[in-house]
């Protein structure tokens, strides 16, 4: 069967259709991209007058309730936490916060025994920064990490910078919904079995991560920001499974805090790491755990009494 050639439409209407579609696409893309971008900034508390900023990954995300914290201390808080971000990513996040939020005086930086272990975290966590490609530092960071095709696609098409997690965060930013909750309680028997079989995330400190962390602290100090290294509790079984490595990492945080006046280390392993009712999984807290940690953080910040004075 040979196809009958039907008459081709004239050049002008053809070009109008093709360029019309392209133009409409890019206009919509620009509008949607901008809408999502601002939503995401709101969600993370960027470009606000927040005086307190939380930076970390899912561990801190599920550990602290931003809204409750704000109510408790009466000060605006930016919660810039993302799943799977490593120490290098968090340095970028702190830089971004410093650039966008001039009022930040206290940085609550989430730490844990695995802070200097890149293994087990997302390998392409840089992709979570795609929406902020407009910032030169982020642009450079992504150019160094992403493939050329990805980099240029994201630059050309704004909406391609988002995935459904970022989309959901952007919409939540516009709606003002900041809750991060995971319901359920950790299965201790399964965990013990996994530990018995050596199937758990090992603590392996690498020099590069420690260096990046130190640089992050320097950035905060240079910008007169007081740092609280907050160890949101993780289950004690993981600590006892590798005590030497655990203590070695804790010693790094203690040393940094001892050497710098502007850095405080809050190790909240004790008294909660043994209370399994507070955990959703071995590392993350459930809503009950989040409540306990947030309440304690409010009490601590109130006692500290340095927040209202703002930047030194």
């Amino acid at each position: 069967m040979i196809v009958q050639e039907n008459h081709s439409i004239k050049l002008r209407p053809f070009l109008i259709r093709v360029f019309g579609v392209l133009l409409f696409f890019f206009v919509l893309d620009l509008a949607a991209g901008k809408f999502l971008e601002t939503g995401l900034e709101k969600y993370y508390g960027l470009y606000t007058n927040a005086q307190v900023a939380l930076v970390g990954h899912s561990h801190l995300m599920l550990g602290v309730d931003k809204e409750k914290l704000e109510k408790g201390i009466g000060i605006s808080v930016a919660k810039y936490t993302r799943e799977g971000v490593n120490v290098q990513d968090r340095k970028i996040m702190v830089e971004q916060l410093v650039d966008s939020n001039k009022e930040v005086s206290t940085l609550i930086y989430g730490v844990d025994a695995w802070s200097f272990t890149s293994e087990g975290l997302s390998k392409n966590s840089y992709s979570q920064f795609y929406p902020f490609l407009y910032a030169s530092k982020i642009k450079e960071f992504i150019r160094n990490n992403a493939s050329k095709t990805d980099y240029w696609t994201k630059r050309l098409i704004k909406t391609s910078r988002f995935d459904e997690t970022l989309l959901s965060s952007a919409i939540r930013g516009h709606l003002g919904k900041w809750t991060n909750l995971k319901y359920g309680t950790v299965n201790i028997e399964n965990l013990q079995r996994s530990i018995g079989k050596e199937e758990f995330r090992k603590i392996k400190n690498d020099a590069k991560s420690i260096e990046e962390f130190q640089k992050t602290m320097e950035i905060a100090i240079e910008n007169n920001i007081e740092v609280i290294l907050l160890y949101v509790p993780t289950i004690d079984l993981l600590q006892t499974a590798q005590p030497r490595e655990f203590n070695r990492t804790i010693a790094i945080f203690e040393k940094i805090a001892a050497e710098n006046k502007g850095i405080t280390f809050l190790n909240w392993q004790s008294p909660w790491s043994e209370n399994y009712e507070l955990f959703y999984d071995p590392i993350h807290l459930n809503p009950k755990g989040q409540r306990v940690v947030t309440d304690s953080l409010i009490t601590y910040l109130k006692q500290r009494n340095t927040l209202s004075s703002g930047k030194k």
Binding site: V3, R17, V21, D29, A32, I157, E164
Partner: protein, 477 residues
């Protein structure tokens, strides 16, 4: 090379520009070279298999056309079929036969066991083998003239828009079109682009999203409740449809831009009113291939009742085996044969009790559409399950295990979006069924602005919610 990659867009654009701006004699070499680049981008060495299959069928076609003796023609055809099927059997079915041979040996208390070949399956081998074979068969049956230009024949077998996952074209359609000089047609460009975008949307937004849930559940079905397994099966039904029909749409769209009209491969299969109707709407190019080259040569329905049963059973079992070298696929084919017989006997029963009129009622028709869909979904369990044990376990749990709660997959957002896109797909398909929306280049009743606006929305959806490139399910066949 995947359709949803910049590499493909680049290769396709370059090919189109050179193709339309070259003299006629250079066009076939351009298509042939592009097709081989497309294939070799994945693995260059497997292109040799495609070339050998092409040479075999090209020579067979010429020999059959030149030969006067009917017996020699037949021998030549059988030889070409055998040679063409060797790579397919070796790569695709080698381990399956060894596995079953080992089982037989162990049952017969023999200590001899064969080690597996563990071969990588050349992408699209079933497709290009069947496409090349259709030519030799057509020449033999006198349905198509012999092709004397090898470059054109090579381009027909390797035609890159439909090379790795069909539609399986016939020489009477595609080869004839390759002979005609074509000019760039703006209408075709617009039609092809729209279809390509819709196919891409189905693939990267719907199919790949549903796959996240489906893969998780089918990986360890023992860990999930009956309800979750039902949802995963339903999701798989839409995943495989969007994945495969999405590829077909992209293939047909890309070919349309180049000026070719490939055959329709899907025609709203989940609206089928019977199993035979389903197979007229699902993977049309394959079912018609089996109809033309297996079912009818065996006598079709013009044989004794027992032979007809044999023919139907054979076609469905072979179709299942074509899809994969595992018992799950064979059972999947067998289940469809079973549905087919049940339906046929049901019709006979209605006739005997004098209730044929019932078939015209709306309730009956709705019942049929729903029952066909549910039956097809049930068969998909065997198609998707990792093993027969898993398939039986899923079946058992669906009917007995209602103990555990809802499972939302890795992300609630993904889960909600999955349902949303299934609903969207169903709405679009209803509009296509009713003739409002375009289906396979049919005229849409919507205003062009709405149509182009819809294409922009799809593009935006792909950009925002498209998941990263993942191989198409049907590549493995």
């Amino acid at each position: 090379m995947l359709f949803n990659s910049w590499q493909f867009i680049f290769l396709f654009s370059v090919t189109a520009v050179f193709y339309f701006n070259s003299p006629y004699r250079l066009r076939m070499p351009i298509l042939l070279v592009s097709s081989y680049i497309f294939y070799m981008y994945w693995r260059w060495d497997f292109a040799v298999i495609m070339l050998l299959v092409s040479i075999t069928n090209y020579l067979a076609g010429r020999f059959i056309a030149n030969e006067k003796s009917r017996i020699r023609k037949k021998r030549c055809l059988l030889l070409a079929v055998a040679i063409s099927l060797v790579p397919l059997f070796y790569f695709k079915y080698g381990d399956f036969f060894l596995e079953n041979l080992n089982v037989l040996l162990s049952v017969s208390s023999s200590e001899k066991q064969f080690s597996y070949l563990n071969l990588v399956l050349p992408v699209g081998i079933s497709f290009f083998t069947f496409q090349a074979l259709s030519y030799s068969l057509d020449v033999y049956f006198g349905k198509t003239p012999v092709e004397r230009n090898f470059v054109r024949f090579g381009a027909f077998v390797a035609f890159f828009p439909q090379l790795v996952a069909g539609p399986i074209e016939r020489s009477s359609n595609l080869l004839e079109q390759l002979k005609a000089p074509r000019r760039f047609n703006r209408n075709y460009f617009l039609q092809g682009s729209k279809l390509f975008v819709w196919g891409l949307f189905k693939k990267v937004v719907i199919a790949d999203r549903l796959a996240l849930y489906v893969d998780k559940v089918f990986e360890s079905p023992d860990a999930y409740s009956g309800l979750t397994l039902i949802i995963a099966t339903l999701f798989f039904a839409f995943q495989i449809y969007c994945d495969f029909s999405g590829y077909s749409d992209m293939a047909i769209g890309a070919a349309r831009i180049l000026g070719f009209k490939l055959m329709q491969n899907f025609n709203l299969p989940y609206f089928s009113k019977s199993i035979s109707d389903f197979w007229r709407r699902w993977h049309i190019s394959l079912s018609s291939w089996f109809g033309d080259y297996l079912y009818r040569p065996l006598g079709g329905s013009r044989v004794s009742y027992i032979k007809w049963i044999r023919n139907i059973l054979l076609v469905f079992l072979v179709s299942g085996f074509w899809h994969g070298a595992a018992w799950t696929f064979i059972i999947w084919g067998g289940l469809h044969a079973f549905y087919y017989f049940m339906e046929s006997w049901g019709d006979v029963f209605l006739k005997r009790v004098g209730k044929v009129e019932l078939k015209k009622s709306m309730v009956y028709r709705i019942f049929k559409v729903v029952s066909v869909f549910v039956s097809v979904c049930y068969a998909w369990i065997y198609f998707r399950a990792n093993s027969l044990q898993d398939a039986f376990l899923i079946t058992e749990k669906i009917f007995t295990d209602w103990s555990q709660g809802w499972f939302f997959g890795g992300s609630t957002v993904t889960y909600v979006l999955s349902w949303f896109f299934i609903m969207l797909l169903v709405i679009v398909q209803i509009l296509q069924y009713k003739g409002y929306s375009s289906l396979y280049f049919s005229k849409s009743k919507f205003h062009p602005i709405i149509e182009y606006g819809w294409t922009v929305v799809l593009l935006l959806g792909i950009s925002l919610l498209g998941l990263s490139s993942k191989s198409f399910i049907y590549f493995q066949f």
